[in-house]
């Protein structure tokens, strides 16, 4: 028996030729999937050409998902999408998705079974850490990194230390993965896990589904983390089976594995959270947020954080038979075409439109202030997305408040930040 390893150390080690790895080691790790989007891949493609190797390492292990500005918002963004398309054609990239089949990358790749438990995934998008929910090691990298991975199928990585985060207890009604992760970031700060892996565990996760895990892993980066991982279990298996077209491995942390820190939280004491401008760490209890009587101009439900069918169902439950406040906007964005279709079949799209919402095709659009919901000066938006930095969603004087889809729906109805119980 060697040194006991965390799940993260184990996955990284198994993607090298090393007999063991230690936190702090810089290793060359083999990559199972290398991902880029319409913002980051054009630079990666240019750098890949500069390497001059000619062929990609494996046409099946590259994913190209135009999702940020697609369907294209302008000529310049259309050019960027064209670069992806031409590259995908030239190298016969298996996992290229044209708009119509493309969705928000971090919702799409798990849904299609392209990323799987035990994988090592690098993506030129900071929210690549989402796939940790499946028990994969997944981390955001830059475009040059992606070019290198396209060429060689490996990438340099520093083995991270791990913080173990334990949530125990049954969540209250309306408390979701979003609230737990906002609460955590509120406690440890936006730099609280810089360079480190977060490993989530505890009895709470038996009460929540895969979509909550995706949301939590997705926002690991907002605490600075390199990755945010869950040990796979029967909930993971239920999600993955039927989607996977290749073998996958369930890794677990060893007994006695070393952690930089262990944090314990009592889920039963946590209420829905709202993160105030301009950092995700500014999270407060919904009751406190509601009492401040903050008028909102816009509410957004969607994104790689909260654009899954479970999120739309929750929003629809609250919006059913209701109207959004006059002079406010509600933008609902199903994260993938499959989610869109499901929402339509379940009658959710009608509920949203009856309430006065606009329903968009899948896109990252407003989350990063790209298009499809840009804020004017001084406007305020509540949003189920992941970042509330200054100017994130539009004018530099606009404000973004982060919350779960239930809070976003309730706030849209009242035209102010409000909890779901206030519209029941």
């Amino acid at each position: 028996m060697g040194r006991p390893l965390t799940i993260t150390e184990k996955i990284i080690q198994n993607h090298t030729d090393l007999s063991t790895v230690l936190p702090g080691d810089i290793v060359n790790a083999r990559v199972d999937i290398a991902l880029g989007n319409d913002i980051t891949a054009p630079i990666a493609i240019k750098e890949f050409e500069a390497i001059g190797i000619g062929e990609v390492f494996d046409r099946k292990k590259i994913a190209l998902v135009p999702d940020h500005f697609v369907p294209n918002k302008d000529i310049l963004s259309a050019r960027q999408a064209k670069v992806l398309r031409e590259f995908a054609k030239k190298h016969d990239i298996e996992n290229y998705f044209e708009c119509g089949e493309a969705g928000v990358e971090h919702a799409l790749l798990p849904e299609k079974g392209i990323v799987l438990p035990g994988d090592l995934v690098v993506g030129a998008d900071s929210h690549t850490c989402t796939y940790g929910a499946l028990g994969a090691f997944a981390t955001g990298v830059g475009s040059t990194d992606l070019a290198y991975a396209f060429a060689f199928g490996e990438l340099w990585l520093k083995v991270p230390e791990t913080i173990k985060v334990i949530f125990n207890g049954k969540p209250k009604k309306w408390v979701s993965g979003k609230d737990l992760v906002l609460y955590l970031i509120g406690k440890i700060g936006v730099e609280g896990a810089n360079y480190m892996a977060l490993e989530f565990t505890g009895s709470t996760f038996k009460h929540l589904g895969m979509s909550d895990r995706f949301t939590i892993s997705n926002m690991a980066i907002e605490a600075g983390a390199k990755s945010g991982i869950f040990e796979p279990d029967e909930i993971t298996e239920d999600y993955v089976k039927g989607r996977a077209k290749r073998d996958y491995i369930f890794y677990k942390s060893d007994e006695g594995a070393e952690y930089a820190k262990i944090l314990n939280f009592d889920t039963e004491s946590i209420n829905p959270q709202v993160a105030f401008p301009h950092l995700p760490e500014n999270s407060v209890d919904i009751n406190e947020a509601s009492a401040k009587n903050i008028k909102i101009d816009q509410s957004v439900i969607g994104s790689c954080t909260n654009g899954r069918i479970e999120d739309l169902r929750i929003a629809a439950e609250i919006l059913k038979g209701k109207k959004i406040a006059k002079y406010s906007r509600l933008i609902v964005i199903p994260a993938t075409p499959d989610i869109y279709r499901m929402a339509e079949k379940e009658g959710l799209i009608d509920i949203f439109m009856d309430a006065g919402a606009v329903v968009s095709t899948p896109t990252c659009g407003p989350c990063l202030g790209g298009y499809m919901g840009i804020l004017a000066d001084g406007e305020k938006s509540i949003s189920s997305t992941n970042r509330n930095f200054k100017g994130r969603m539009g004018d530099v004087t606009s404000e973004v408040y982060l919350a779960n889809p239930a809070v976003c729906a309730a706030s849209a109805i009242l035209g102010k930040i409000a909890g779901p119980d206030e519209v029941a």
């Binding site: 630079i43 960027q80 040059t144």
Partner: protein
């Protein structure tokens, strides 16, 4: 290498949306990125900065998105080195990969307009205005190899030449 220039000082948690807002990410040309560099933190930065000047910041510089456009925008502005108390990890690796020097040091005593002389080999940062010296954290060996090779792409080319792959 030795660099000399003046300080543009920023606070904590300067995110990549402040370094290069997403509204400009439909064009990844260096000229476009340079023009809008730091725009949401200091609107007039691109008109004030001169080749050789430094960006100096507090904690968690470059947090947020993985966009390599952020270090590219800074490099294209003529800034050779960014010094901060700490950096967010993707920004950190992106900078080394594209050959932008990144130093972690106590920036508390550095103010807007101070003239610094930086030795990236020794990590010594002389504040010529205040007559003080600060030592940056040493750069990990692999990272300095990367920068010395001229970034990850140059390193990759070398690797192909050596016939490792």
């Amino acid at each position: 290498m030795i660099f000399s220039g003046k300080v543009f000082k920023f606070g904590d948690n300067i995110d990549t949306d402040a370094i290069i807002p997403a509204r400009y990410l439909n064009d990844s040309s260096e000229e476009n990125l340079r023009k809008h560099c730091m725009e949401d933190a200091d609107e007039s930065f691109s008109t004030k900065v001169s080749k050789g000047d430094f960006i100096v910041a507090g904690n968690n510089f470059g947090c947020g998105s993985s966009r390599e456009h952020a270090p590219i925008a800074i490099k294209a502005s003529g800034v050779p080195v960014v010094i901060a108390k700490s950096f967010a990890r993707i920004f950190y690796r992106n900078s080394f990969n594209i050959g932008l020097f990144i130093l972690e040091a106590d920036t508390g005593g550095m103010d807007n307009g101070d003239i610094l002389e930086i030795n990236t080999d020794t990590g010594e940062i002389k504040n010529k205005t205040k007559n003080t010296v600060v030592k940056a954290k040493p750069i990990p060996k692999f990272m300095s190899e990367l920068v010395n090779a001229g970034g990850l792409i140059a390193y990759a080319k070398k690797k192909i030449k050596e016939g490792k792959k």
